[in-house]
Symmetry: C2
Subunit: 326 residues, 2 copies
């Protein structure tokens, strides 16, 4: 009576979900689904089938929860509602401005299918969101600050890779210590974008590329870099491989609030992750368990982390949790 | 359509709950209930009645949720089931070994009365418990460490005050930096009681008391101090008043877990509180909102923080939370 997990999409996140399933005794991976030719895909779990995503059409008995590992820009807005009609689904949709409409679309589809659709799982949105809501609920007279890093931003790394003359790039987002200290001290400072984070870029240039021009193009790139203090290091391909092949990340939600006669309270939730996709995948898998449990109780529709009690994420019984975790 | 709050018991925690109500626009304090003569009690909210707890018998229309601010040793085991028959209730029961039986007693009473009874609210048990369950659910291959302090332990302060020749005392629990660092680094160390925390005591001795004997009695006291490195400072009454009149506390839940090929992840939830009772009271008030909402949906019985979705604690709408907190 394991929970049968399907993974749709096998990039970094899909592989992170696959690793997470291995750590959970109450789950089993029954298939990886891809838009590519399944023959071209070698996965990290022996004995598990790789299938084309067309085989999801019409539903399958060997999937209790489908974890959808696609991009927020173009994949998830279509995929999550489509598959929520057929399966319980979990996604990591993170285009903040479009969350309300995505929620509405998934809600309709999931209710039509009698399924649960959990959207925007992961750590931000996800665990960081939970921390913001708990702190805001406990201390309404207060303010939340979110810091990211030190960690690799894949979006910013990709933006550098699109510059002419760049062969490879890795961008680290780094919180500014002075800003962290001010927030942790309960001062509730007003901080500009520049004061909160710096950006550090490691770039492999093509032979004969104009490094000064590349550096200038990075540092002046609107939205991505122009509002930040950015440093650029040119390194070799070997150095990139040796020193920057991981995908670490993390960050902190720091909430500072007041009660009574000026008593201040600082609540901090922080993550230090060796692998962003493996941790994100682990959150999605805990949410997949919640989707399964909720649906088993007859619940359907779209949910976010705000709608799910902590016990639903756990493989442990309510008695066990009360006896050993309270 | 404010949520009507009653407070039973007006010690430090009761006053903390009272302050918390003032910070929440969707709530109103309708009465403070005491076992003492109400005439002897002056509260910090103008225009709110103080009544003897006998006036709770048989129920009241002006209470949606009764927040029970009694001690875990003798008050709450009787009070919470008794009043859960009549009202939605919230308590901060923290005798860990007895939580299962307390839960069962409150569950029966609350179901009989058609009410919600939330037990073991606060920060530990409470917010720390939530952090342990989330982290354990996401990273089952891992380990949780809980550190308390720096902060005043009222139980340990009371234990010192019972020693002959002691006029007043304040005990601070302090986490050992070296242990914190080891845990944060992901080493998953095995730590003895002595290695995790030290205890620092400030004592006002009576005139002519044998200070060496007092210090020895503190340091050798079983359970409370014998297993810790303890320091004792004798100070004047004025110094006690000037430097040690607050009730600060806090601590950290640090969880370190592994995924994939040895990737480590460290999750930390930490609190730095100027006033332990005001923060605890603020958690109880957020849980009182959850009790009210759950009961409005027709749910009854005992609940812990594990059973309550984050959105139930918030005064904000689900749409607002999705649009601005995810």
């Amino acid at each position: 009576m394991s929970i049968k997990i399907g993974i749709l999409g096998y990039g970094n996140l899909g592989r992170g979900v696959e690793e997470a399933v291995k750590k959970n005794d109450d789950m089993v991976l029954t298939g990886v689904y891809t838009r590519r030719d399944p023959k071209d895909l070698k996965i990290n779990t022996e004995g598990v089938a790789v299938r084309n995503c067309s085989e999801l059409e019409g539903g399958r008995d060997d999937i209790d929860v489908l974890v959808i590992c696609g991009g927020s820009a173009t994949d998830l807005p279509n995929m999550t509602p489509k598959y929520a009609k057929l399966f319980n689904v979990v996604d990591s949709f993170d285009t903040h401005a479009n969350i309300p409409s995505h929620f509405a679309n998934v809600d309709k589809a999931a209710k039509d299918g009698g399924n649960i659709g959990i959207i925007s799982g992961g750590w931000d949105p996800g665990m960081f969101s939970i921390s913001r809501v708990y702190a805001d609920s406990i201390l309404p007279d207060g303010q939340a600050y979110t810091f990211w890093g030190k960690g690799v931003s894949q979006g910013h790394s990709d933006a550098i890779r699109r510059i002419k003359g760049v062969k490879d790039a890795r961008q680290y987002t780094i919180p500014v210590e002075k800003a962290l200290d001010a927030v942790r001290s309960g001062q509730n400072p007003t901080l500009t974008t520049r004061e909160k984070h710096t950006r550090e870029c490691f770039v492999v240039a093509e032979d004969g590329a104009d490094k000064a021009a590349i550096e200038n193009e990075i540092k002046t790139m609107p939205n991505y870099f122009a509002d930040y203090d950015t440093t650029v290091h040119f390194i070799s391909e070997d150095e990139m491989k040796r020193d920057h092949s991981g995908l670490p990340h993390g960050g902190s939600v720091i909430y500072s609030g007041t009660t009574g006669q000026g008593n201040n309270h600082v609540v901090e939730y922080s993550l230090k992750l060796d692998s962003n996709p493996e941790f994100t995948g682990s959150v999605l898998i805990a949410l997949a368990r919640a989707a399964y449990k909720l649906n088993s109780e007859g619940v359907s529709g779209a949910k976010t982390v705000f709608d799910i009690a902590p016990a639903y994420l756990s493989a442990k019984s309510a008695d066990d949790l009360r006896a050993h975790y309270l």
